[in-house]
């Protein structure tokens, strides 16, 4: 207030303070003194909420459509939900018909249609607010259904393909640069040495796995999408890279804020 209510000066004061500059990571000495973390020396890690998680994945992949406003949209749902589904909306239409405009599938979650009788499956297992009851606080559960959703959904996998494409476009062909870029996009940091060696080891092995698939009758792989130049793309390497991106995007570090 003395500084004329300047938020910048206030932020500067906060940011330069000793408290602010302390690490908020878990430390043995801190835990010994304050096991319940009452003094908040350790940052209480928080899971992204249902919509945050979806939007974050979309954003990271570079796919998020940030259009503001307009009627609610019907993003893609598993085909098994729609196929043979005689559920109707009371006016003869289907309960959920995927939006025709592909951009509608990439809108922010706040624009996803909320149907009480048919929750949007992609976020349904992440404890969204239940639209049929009053609500003051969300649960935070950690379930296998969530893992299945993030790891198996074709939609999420598609975003990982797009993210892989984005990384290659931004980082070029150099493997080190690609891994750095991926981590910067997802976590605002570079991978540690240990992580890098795990990632590189994975790429090598995965490439062989994908290659072995080439000997089967039906050879199809998921490659990075959104690339301008695909001439130099080695499909085995590229598919292995998509798998890597998908695993990293599924990791705890993405689902939580620390």
């Amino acid at each position: 207030m003395k500084n004329g209510w300047s938020p910048k000066k206030l932020q500067r004061e906060i940011v330069l303070s000793a408290v602010y500059r302390q690490s908020s990571e878990e430390r043995a000495d801190v835990v010994a003194v304050d096991p319940a973390n009452k003094l908040l020396a350790v940052y209480p890690r928080k899971r992204l909420e249902a919509e945050e998680l979806r939007d974050s994945l979309l954003y990271a992949s570079g796919e998020l459509d940030e259009t503001i406003g307009g009627p609610a949209v019907f993003p893609k749902v598993p085909s098994s939900l729609v196929a043979g589904n005689v559920l109707n909306n009371g006016q003869g239409g289907a309960l959920w018909e995927d939006a025709k405009d592909p951009n509608d599938h990439k809108r922010r979650s706040i624009y996803t249609f909320v149907r009480r009788s048919l929750p949007y499956p992609l976020t349904a297992s992440f404890d969204p607010a239940d639209p049929s009851k009053p609500h003051h606080k969300r649960d935070v559960s950690t379930t296998a259904l969530q893992a299945l959703t993030l790891f198996n959904s074709d939609v999420v996998f598609g975003w990982s393909q797009a993210l892989a494409g984005r990384v290659i476009s931004e980082a070029g062909a150099n493997e080190n640069a690609q891994l750095d870029t991926l981590y910067e996009i997802l976590f605002s940091r570079k991978p540690t040495r240990e992580e890098k060696s795990a990632l590189k080891g994975f790429l090598k092995e995965q490439e062989k796995l994908v290659e072995s698939k080439a000997w089967t009758d039906k050879f199809e792989v998921a490659v990075p999408t959104g690339l301008k130049d695909t001439k130099n793309l080695d499909p085995f390497k590229a598919a292995a890279f998509v798998d890597l991106v998908h695993a990293v995007a599924n990791s705890n570090e993405f689902a939580y804020r620390f």
Binding site: L118, N152, Q206, V248
Partner: protein, 481 residues
């Protein structure tokens, strides 16, 4: 600078140097956030309050309200009085105004009755197969509930309340007992027909309990859960090695936070997902069942096939330690006109089809459980949101009756071949009010058989200690073995 962070971002922007948000960071998510559950494994198995009689419950919800006056509750007086009005004395103490009004007593011309088994229980000609199991059943012929719309009374049947927000019985059980099979959810919902049951997932919701305890709906078909199959373009080997990488990354990440149980829980959730990917389709895959078994459940028949499939799946889930299996009756495959027991008109046509759909499969289930030695450790509950009136509606239909009807249970810990309570001579309402069994009493009894005291199964919500039976509920002691 190697590690960019929130902190640096703030610093830069406050000094006006960094300008826009740092490349690639995710904006807008710094305000509201979820604080993660601290429990290590909320589904770890827990001991009951006292030794349990049963391990699993199969909750057969007969959706749409069957007329138990046409199935189990034989009323010679009703047959005699058919076509006449209902004497006022029978209507005392009930409110018929919210229903469609009181018409002349009605009896179907096609109905006939016989006694079965040593217990001599009455069954109508609609349930010839189930009748063979008379001596396995424990009838509660004095069931009551609150009559409202189907959706509201169904909610009460499953959660004990007329408004959404309370946990369903299965959720309470998952909460109190945890999971007996680490590869499958402890609470599964099955249904037949093309669409999810009416009134939907509020009926297997966890209400104010943590969401992990909610029921998992298994859809008909080979892939019972969404996202059970890996992305199309990935091979099983690719998937496996990707999971290994994910595991490795998560472990590295958790090393910095050795005390954070939530991170370990999430790590484990991917392991469980990996196992469930195998366990869930296997649990519902009937290809290893013999033709004789399938026939027993009526799976070879168009009308009984889909319901029989649900029940055979239910038995497989019982074998795999699932605690609560809620089976909601739908309609035979391809049937679009009759989709529930709700026979406001043409009861003969409706119940003719619906009874046929469930009769053989339920009889098959009881026989199969018995022959596998599972009936003693399982409870089968035949239940509905309410039943139907002795008077007719639209000529040949029946209206809703919440004042007195029949439900039954079969399985461990009960007096088999036993009937508790009864309705008046016309089947309008419970004969002796002291024997009335409301939803809460049914819930209390099911919990009791599972070794749980409903008064001690509690959860603090908004500072108040809540229990499965709201503030009501008494174990129906007279039916316990």
């Amino acid at each position: 600078m190697d590690n960019k962070s929130r902190r640096d971002f703030l610093k830069n922007s406050s000094l006006g140097v960094g300008g826009v948000a740092l490349a690639g960071a995710i904006p807008g998510f710094n305000i509201s956030a979820a604080s993660a559950a601290e429990l290590i494994d909320p589904l770890a198995p827990k001991d009951p309050h006292f030794p349990a009689k049963i391990k699993s419950v199969i909750w057969l919800h007969q959706n749409g309200a069957p007329s138990t006056l046409d199935l189990y509750d034989y009323k010679p007086e009703l047959v005699k009085q058919a076509g006449k009005g209902v004497p006022d004395s029978f209507l005392k103490g009930i409110k018929t105004s919210t229903q469609g009004g009181v018409n002349e007593l009605f009896v179907s011309n096609y109905r006939s009755w016989k006694q079965y088994g040593e217990s001599g229980a009455w069954f109508s000609n609609l349930l010839p197969n189930l009748a063979q199991h008379a001596d396995k059943l424990t009838f509660i012929k004095s069931s009551v509930t609150i009559g409202a719309t189907h959706d509201i009374s169904i909610l009460k049947l499953n959660t004990g309340d007329l408004n959404p927000g309370r946990p369903s019985l299965g959720a309470w059980i998952s909460y109190a007992l945890g999971s007996a099979n680490p590869d499958l959810p402890p609470y599964v919902v099955l249904y037949n027909g093309a669409s999810e049951p009416r009134a939907g997932s509020v009926n297997w919701n966890s209400g104010f309990l943590p969401a992990v305890y909610q029921g998992t709906a298994f859809r008909p078909g080979d892939s019972p859960i969404y996202y059970l199959d890996r992305p199309e373009l990935r091979s099983a080997l690719q998937q496996r090695s990707s999971l290994d990488l994910l595991n490795r990354l998560n472990k590295l990440n958790a090393e910095n936070r050795p005390l954070d149980t939530e991170l370990k829980a999430r790590l484990r959730s991917y392991d469980l997902a990996d196992r469930m990917q195998v366990a869930a389709p296997e649990a519902v895959d009937l290809s290893k069942e013999t033709d004789a078994t399938k026939k027993l459940y009526g799976i070879d028949d168009a009308i009984t096939g889909s319901y029989g499939t649900s029940l055979l799946r239910a038995r497989r889930l019982v074998e795999r330690g699932v605690r609560f299996i809620q089976v909601v009756s739908g309609a035979p495959d391809g049937e679009t006109e009759i989709t529930s027991w709700d026979a406001h008109d043409d009861l003969d046509k409706n119940h003719g089809l619906m009874a046929k759909m469930v009769d053989k499969p339920i009889a098959g289930l009881l026989e199969d459980l018995k022959s596998r030695g599972l009936l003693e450790s399982t409870l089968v509950v035949w239940t509905s949101e309410f039943s139907r009136t002795p008077w007719g509606e639209s000529g040949t239909g029946r209206d809703h009756n919440p004042w007195g009807y029949t439900q039954w249970m079969a399985g461990g810990g009960l007096k088999a071949g036993f009937t508790y309570g009864g309705t008046d001579e016309l089947g309008v309402q419970v004969a002796d009010k002291d024997t009335a069994v409301d939803t809460y009493d049914l819930h209390a009894t099911v919990l009791h058989l599972l070794g749980l005291n409903h008064l001690k199964t509690t959860f603090i919500n908004n500072g108040r200690s809540e229990r499965p039976t709201v503030v009501f509920g008494k174990v129906v002691k007279d039916i316990l073995a």
